[in-house]
Symmetry: C2
Subunit: 205 residues, 2 copies
């Protein structure tokens, strides 16, 4: 195991993976990339942040398709490259640039795959039972018209399809990560502790 | 997270999961079930140990089928129950009995699934890259006619099909386990340490 400089965190919606990533970064004094990544990709691509947020991890739905078809001629840099592919290439480059720059924690956006050739990444997947995730999203984001179980399934299905499309891998297969943790069973705090411990990283003074 | 009494270890062939399970059991002073489980199932079923070893985790191949067809009338306790199903029911009962009896480590044999209703199990999956596993099986079991990559693929394919058939789950999906670890990346010793630490179990005096 080489010395870890980067922790990537992939996560099921509602598993608390984002919170865990932030806590790991805070305790190790590392730069944290989540929304910051969306901003960087939005800047580089010229797209709106909310659009990048939606399209960078999620498989295109109907509304995206309609949007893409309308905007394709203007936004596409090369013939035959779809807007989603264009965003992917930018996401790919931005994540590689970030990884070169400094030790950090990166949440989501297929960073585990994008940085797979590096030997200084520790790749973690966070998941939880549907019950635990449903309880969490209702507590954090409130009720909505759709049942929480449906909101969870919809969001993760999009991530799964996107991941498969761009990486050829099955999202959530333990073999894609160095460590996978059930945050509902272990608890958020315990996951943070286990990840920091296993990464071998220390807070830089 | 309830107090853990049982650690189940599922593992890819060649990942060192069996060694890890044994080390965890030794350090925690727990009873270890692997071959011992095969013996218990063999005793209860009346089948030969080597047969139980092969059939209890692996999807039936041709030789099994030939054997099963020949032996079915004598061995099958009820009409319509295949010999594989018969062994499964015994495996199911034996593993549940063991779990009731005392704290322990159980390696393989779908124990994660069989004990899924219990709240005192900590379920771990151990995997590694093909390179690391190939290096390990050649070191431990020697060369054979088939390339190590093929031996790995064959063995894990059987486990995968068996697991899917009896549990309805995808083998190796991180969601089936509380923790999944890449032993090739982390190292055997580090996996042992992480599992003991995360389980919250202490060596009983």
């Amino acid at each position: 195991m080489s010395e870890t400089r980067i922790i990537t965190i992939s996560r099921e919606f509602g598993s608390g993976g984002r919170t865990i990533g932030k806590m790991v970064a805070d305790r190790l004094g590392l730069k944290y990339y989540d929304k910051e990544l969306v901003q960087a990709i939005a800047e580089e691509s010229g797209f709106d942040e909310s659009y990048v947020e939606e399209a960078g991890e999620h498989a295109p739905g109907k509304s995206w398709l309609a949007f893409a078809l309308g905007a394709q001629s203007a936004a596409t840099p090369g013939k035959g490259l779809s807007m989603n592919d264009f965003l992917w290439t930018i996401q790919y480059r931005v994540i590689n640039e970030i990884a070169e720059k400094e030790p950090c924690v990166i949440v989501g956006r297929c960073a585990d795959y994008i940085l797979r050739e590096r030997s200084d990444c520790f790749d973690v997947f966070i998941h939880a039972s549907t019950d635990k995730k449903a309880e969490r999203i209702v507590r954090l984001y409130g009720e909505s018209e759709a049942a929480p179980e449906k909101r969870l399934a919809d969001k993760d299905k999009k991530r799964k399809v996107f991941y498969k499309h761009y990486t050829g891998r099955e999202w959530g297969m333990s073999q894609n990560y160095h460590m996978s943790l059930d945050s509902g069973y272990l608890g958020i705090e315990e996951c943070v502790r286990i990840i920091i411990d296993a990464s071998g990283m220390k807070k830089s003074e």
